[in-house]
Symmetry: C2
Subunit: 311 residues, 2 copies
């Protein structure tokens, strides 16, 4: 799947993933009204509106981007109905040929990580039939529990030719509280570097061509750390959140890329899916939210190309 | 909710939580056969069997224990159907008066943690009505992202009078890979102590009587570290996994308790819910799995009382 991701990034000349993180406040009124009329003003109505909203964005952008990244928390907050909208979104994105990165940030002790890996990347056997729970192509994974919490994901990645992005240095303001602490038995290098080195080691065991099945999450908001991590994990794709609404700029992105113009894929959520709320795209109006998203993707692609020096 | 948990622990004289972590291989054949006959041999059939299995265990033990801890991964692996069984389990445990600890190990950047907190501990407003997604009483939380990833959970805990257990030192063999690393700017103390101190600080902001809404997860497999963490977080309840099947013994548990005989609640999953598979409880047979679970709870209570010196 990393090979497909790289191919699609090259083909579309867009190292961009759209974060499908629907907040209730992003949903245009006409979609909510319609869904509430048919399914009632409740969890089922919202879930239906979320799926319709996502479908509109996917339809308007799938020819421009290689991948989407639904953030499962935004669906989980609407309970079972919300998670059904998550699953429908994954399936619909697949129908449109998109790579799907499940932003799930799971991670647990071995047997439990095995269950999460089965849920999101693998299959579960019942009798002699295999069933896929959510069936994303990539998942984000939290490394706090160490190797035996991550390796079950890697095992499933090998079986299914799928991939993971391990949290190394996250985009949020207080990510440094634990991630930046200097590790005394590693020349006082920060924890995120220790994790980054481990990501590179895990990645060596499951190489695509030429990138690994095991990537990393490093926030756009920390470009200097991105530069160091890029060097420590040369074969790991970096999923870069934090561009746009969180404060990361195009000019911050260059360190995340390798000299081949590859090696990073930049996420934008709000900046694309709720573009219609920005003054810049206000002329599209609420009903034109999908076209506004398309315009925002085009602008983001140009911003990254100019900043990173992609051809 | 921490007050209720402490009361129930005292009343039942059992600092025990049953981990409702149903593996497919634990489910007795008669339950699977019956569910497959009615719902087909697939995800729905398994989910039905899981709920029936959990219900049997809850019915057989709810008078003995204060709490259950369903591990959501074990449900998530069966997709939407599995998560419906999770939700039914939470609701049924509540009907029986049990405290429910959702073992979800979530944690993300602020806005996303807010969504997870709403999903599992809080409510979401749609129009002027509030809806609860999963509605556990406590949730486990991963601290890797730092304070702004944890505080949204604490905010919801304050609103809803619920609680969290933050991963500090996990029970798995490789938990030390990152958690034990010496932090140079903190007198070379290990990372888990830094996290533990932060748990105590977070906990100060939302005190029950006399324990905090913010607890910690510390594995039974690391009793010496448990002793240090007990002192660092005197007001935090410690959720202790790793007893039984993972290797933690009754004699390892004393350091996790305070002098008042409180302060810790010990989880056992396999050792209780699949007790019927152990030689010791084999006479109950597969059909007597719930009675075997009850016997295992009684034995665990006696083992802990003897080891910890509870009256």
């Amino acid at each position: 799947m990393i090979n497909k991701l790289v191919q699609e990034i090259k083909k579309k000349n867009a190292p961009i993933v759209i974060g499908l993180d629907p907040m209730l406040s992003y949903l245009p009124k006409h979609l909510l009204d319609e869904a509430f009329r048919e399914y009632g003003e409740g969890l089922k109505g919202v879930a239906e509106a979320i799926f319709t909203y996502n479908k509109g964005i996917i339809d308007a952008t799938y020819d421009l981007v290689p991948a989407v990244k639904p953030q499962i928390a935004m669906y989980e907050q609407f309970g079972i109905e919300g998670l059904m909208a998550f699953k429908r979104t994954v399936d619909y994105a697949h129908e449109k040929g998109l790579v799907v990165i499940g932003d799930i940030k799971r991670g647990d002790i071995g047997s439990t990580s095995t269950a999460y890996a089965s849920a999101h990347l693998g299959k579960i056997m019942i009798g002699d039939k295999a069933y896929a729970g959510f069936d994303e192509d990539f998942a984000t994974v939290n490394p706090y529990l160490g190797s035996d919490g991550v390796e079950p994901f890697i095992k499933v990645c090998k079986e299914e030719k799928k991939g993971i992005f391990v949290l190394v240095k996250t985009s949020n303001p207080s990510s440094g509280e634990f991630q930046d602490r200097p590790i005394a038995d590693a020349d006082n290098r920060p924890l995120y570097e220790i994790v980054g080195k481990q990501v590179a080691a895990w990645g060596e065991t499951c190489m695509g061509d030429p990138y690994s099945y095991v990537g990393a999450v490093v926030g756009a908001t920390y470009p200097e750390m991105g530069r160091i991590l890029r060097d420590l994990m040369p074969k790991s794709y970096i999923l870069v959140p934090g561009y746009g609404a969180q404060g990361g700029k195009g000019s911050d992105l260059k360190p995340f890329f390798n000299a081949d113009g590859l090696g990073a894929i930049v996420n934008s959520s709000r900046g694309i899916i709720a573009a219609y709320k920005q003054e810049k795209y206000a002329s599209y109006g609420e009903e034109g939210y999908a076209d506004a998203a398309r315009a925002a993707v085009t602008d983001m692609r140009d911003d990254i190309a100019a900043s990173v020096g992609l051809s």
